[in-house]
């Protein structure tokens, strides 16, 4: 089925579900309980108001455990001013999508805030709750989209890059034949030789790899910040370009062609269910055909919920400086340093 259609239908169903629940409670509109992972913004931290009201109202009649009353009985949910005032304190936990009647909601929230993993989500019988399950499906769909999507040409142009191909012509081949993703097409080699400065200190390459969303969302900030960092350090950065459907070791071919000191490859990581847009920066000192993996190094987990892209770019500059100073990367660098 068409992925866009699936997304649309999922949204419709979830919104409908939520609209119902909201009107059951007190007829007020409230923010959606399921948070869609928005690819364009950081995940919201606002909890659902509706859920709090349910919990607060329940609190009135018991000191110990919180009772959640039937959703049909809307009279039970009149909010008194004192309840309103106490909202601030329990603001950060949303009972409905999580565990029912947690013994220690504050502690639970503290634990949940420490990880993006799906903990404390509660259950309905032996299964996850509907919201949790839909969120899971949605994240899975986003991961699939990230693998099969393409990077927008507009971004590549905005960064002033040109685009070349590997020996892969379609995504199915890319997945089945990793070796093709490590080799540049003949045409690509010609273009690179024609357009790029030879023997720069640093050669930056971008590639979608397994996540086009990683490049679309995060590459620009890493790239611009890295550019500034290299400039401040006085390192010459050659002519950066974009390789479509590349694998990490494609940097070896680029190394052969252009003979830079260091290659930095910003490439989309295999998407997971927490983030489908995580970016890695692979570095290698003088990569050539036959370079062993131990000589590569990587800064991974660059995305809005991980290492902030702009900070990663600034940090990469200092790593590159070290690689150039010791004329080594990866395990060799550790040996030389220590």
């Amino acid at each position: 089925m068409n992925p866009e259609l699936i997304e649309k239908v999922t949204r419709l169903v979830v919104e409908k579900l939520q609209a119902q629940e909201t009107s059951d409670v007190n007829g007020q509109k409230s923010s959606a309980a399921v948070k869609f992972w928005r690819h364009t913004s950081s995940p919201g931290t606002q909890p659902s108001r509706m859920s709090e009201e349910v919990i607060e109202a329940g609190k009135q009649d018991t000191d110990g455990l919180i009772k959640i009353k039937s959703y049909q009985n809307s009279n039970a949910f009149k909010i008194t001013p004192t309840d309103k005032a106490s909202h601030d304190k329990t603001e950060s936990y949303s009972g409905k999508t999580g565990i029912d009647n947690p013994a220690d909601p504050v502690e639970l929230e503290a634990l949940k805030s420490k990880t993006p993993a799906r903990i404390g989500v509660g259950r309905a019988g032996s299964r996850p709750k509907t919201d949790t399950w839909l969120k899971f499906r949605f994240d899975h769909a986003a991961a699939v989209d990230a693998v099969y999507g393409d990077v927008n040409d507009e971004l590549i142009n905005r960064l002033g890059l040109f685009k070349v191909n590997t020996m892969v012509n379609e995504k199915e081949v890319y997945i089945r034949r990793p070796d093709y993703g490590r080799k540049l097409s003949e045409e690509a080699k010609k273009i690179i030789l024609a357009k790029c400065q030879k023997g720069p200190a640093v050669q930056i390459i971008l590639s979608d790899g397994l996540s086009s969303s990683a490049i679309e969302e995060n590459a620009e900030d890493v790239y611009l910040s890295l550019q500034q960092s290299l400039k401040s350090l006085g390192l010459d950065m050659g002519t950066p370009f974009y390789i479509e459907k590349g694998r990490v070791a494609v940097m070896d071919e680029v190394g052969e062609l252009l003979k830079p000191k260091v290659v930095v490859l910003l490439i989309g990581e295999r998407p997971g269910l927490v983030s489908a847009e995580s970016l890695s920066a692979y570095l290698c000192y003088e990569p050539r055909k036959g370079t062993i993996e131990a000589d590569r190094m990587v800064i991974s987990n660059i995305h809005k919920g991980g290492i902030p892209p702009a900070e990663a770019g600034a940090y990469l500059g200092t790593v590159i400086q070290k690689v150039i100073k010791y004329e080594a990367s990866g395990v060799s660098l550790v040996k030389k340093e220590g």
């Binding site: 611009l224 987990n301 902030p308």
Partner: protein, 482 residues
């Protein structure tokens, strides 16, 4: 053979000095710093181990007169202890001098603590204040750890010669503090006779219409009644139920936590009277005051028996251990700090809340800098301050550039704009922001650090850049994590 991959490591020496109402003591400890991030991440340097290398004996606090400390005697004492410990002042990379209890009210207290922090170490921070005492003692006694481990609400009550400082923690979060004029030295004896009664106790006696004067026998029955009463007041304080007639004993604000307390722990000199952890030799100071009676009253108090008592890890040394081992924080590892500007001491913090809205935040900056100058440098003498940017939204590179240029522009409001621009960020953006500011204005000196939690109005001290590219930071006031 394969070489094992060793994570980046570094050791630093920290000192803690506690100058209290009755006693003065010192500890030297070693912190091990290590990069705790995986090999594929940006470094994250943390303190992984704290080892106490040396504990001094417990000395009587040297006084010149009743209202002034013998600064030279204290400095001599510290110097001699360093020699015994085999430490040079220059070895000390971080730590705190804390002046506690009634000693903090002596007329030369401030001079004392600043002179000591200047002479006794490279980066030794001067601290004082009843709330801070309570917090530091709770960390030294083990109450903070206990709350973190058990998730319970734990109150630590550190009772020394002059004050009882309570700090309440739940799951490692500070819930609140309270300080009372309750301590061993509030009535002192000599040759079986009373030689001094402190003013708060005199007030209580007046309220009771009781008659107790200098020269009376130490066995006067009213003294027992008084220590029993003090124990009850501590019980009421823990329940946030202080009576109007208890107020003469309250120092500063009312108890400000909202939680019900599960466990209580006593530290300080009075706790030593309860638990006897110390060797007799390590404590040359002997006390002729109501300390022991107060300890007895605490033990017999019904109000206090209702709580679960937990023995502390440390009694009389809780505060000094807290000061020596629990005051230092480590900044993020990707920062921009110009070495020649460090260390920076006593920098007030001005917070700018972005509320996850960049536009809104940027608009506030210029105004905030003007206000910070008004508050912290009303005479335009050049008192620098740190800008603490919180609740920042996600920042892309262009956002950073914009933020940087607004910050630079706002500096014009400072009487000395060429002073280092000190920025503290909650989120991990210090390196890119520092670098961007430097690119936009090469002459501007910058200290931009991140991943430090402070509060508006706190004072911070920033130490030298360490080999692991982090800076030690000591924050000096309350941090309530509600």
């Amino acid at each position: 053979m394969l070489k094992r991959y060793d994570a980046q490591k570094e050791n630093i020496i920290s000192a803690g000095i506690d100058i209290g109402t009755s006693t003065t003591k010192l500890v030297i400890s070693r912190f091990s710093l290590m990069n705790m991030a995986g090999g594929t991440h940006m470094p994250r340097i943390e303190i992984i181990e704290k080892e106490v290398l040396y504990r001094s004996p417990i000395y009587r606090t040297p006084l010149l007169t009743a209202s002034s400390i013998d600064i030279q005697a204290v400095e001599r004492l510290v110097r001699e202890e360093y020699i015994t410990a085999g430490i040079e002042p220059a070895d000390i990379k971080t730590g705190a001098v804390i002046i506690t209890g009634e000693t903090a009210t002596k007329h030369n207290a401030e001079e004392m603590v600043h002179s000591l922090s200047d002479h006794a170490g490279d980066f030794l921070v001067a601290t004082a204040g009843p709330d801070l005492e309570g917090i530091i003692a709770a960390k030294g006694s083990g109450a903070y750890e206990l709350s973190k481990r058990t998730g319970k609400t734990v109150a630590n009550i550190d009772i020394g010669g002059g004050t009882a400082n309570a700090a309440v923690y739940r799951s490692g979060r500070l819930c609140g503090t309270c300080t009372l004029h309750i301590g061993g030295r509030l009535i002192e004896f000599s040759d079986g006779k009373i030689i001094s009664i402190s003013p708060p106790v005199q007030q209580i006696l007046r309220l009771w219409g009781a008659d107790l004067e200098r020269g009376d026998s130490r066995n006067h029955p009213i003294i027992g009644k008084l220590t029993d009463y003090m124990a009850e007041v501590i019980g009421r304080m823990l329940r946030k139920d202080l009576h109007r007639e208890d107020l003469p004993l309250l120092l500063g604000h009312d108890p400000n936590w909202t939680e019900e307390i599960d466990y209580i722990m006593f530290s300080g000199g009075i706790s030593e009277c309860l638990y006897h952890f110390e060797n007799a030799e390590s404590s040359p100071a002997q006390y002729d005051d109501i300390g022991k009676m107060l300890a007895q009253s605490l033990r017999n108090c019904r109000e206090l028996a209702a709580f679960k008592w937990v023995e502390p890890d440390e009694t009389v040394r809780a505060t000094v251990l807290g000061a020596g081992t629990q005051t230092t924080e480590i900044s993020g590892a990707t920062i921009h700090a110009e070495g020649h500007e460090l260390p920076i001491r006593n920098l007030p913090v001005y917070q700018i809340r972005f509320d996850n809205n960049l536009e809104k935040g940027l608009h506030q900056i210029t105004e905030a800098v003007k206000k910070a100058v008004e508050i912290y440098d009303p005479q335009q003498e050049g008192q620098n301050f740190a800008l603490y940017l919180t609740a920042l939204p996600y920042l892309g590179f262009r956002d950073i550039q914009e933020l940087s240029s607004v910050l630079l522009k706002s500096l014009q409001a400072k009487p000395m704009p060429e002073q280092p621009l000190v920025v503290v960020l909650e989120s991990d953006h210090a390196k890119v922001l520092g670098q961007t500011i430097k690119v936009q204005e090469t002459k501007q000196s910058i200290v931009c650090i991140d991943q430090i939690k402070v509060e508006h109005g706190d004072y911070i001290d920033i130490g030298h850049l360490l080999q692991t590219n982090v800076v030690p930071v000591v924050t000096k006031t309350l941090t309530f994590h509600r």
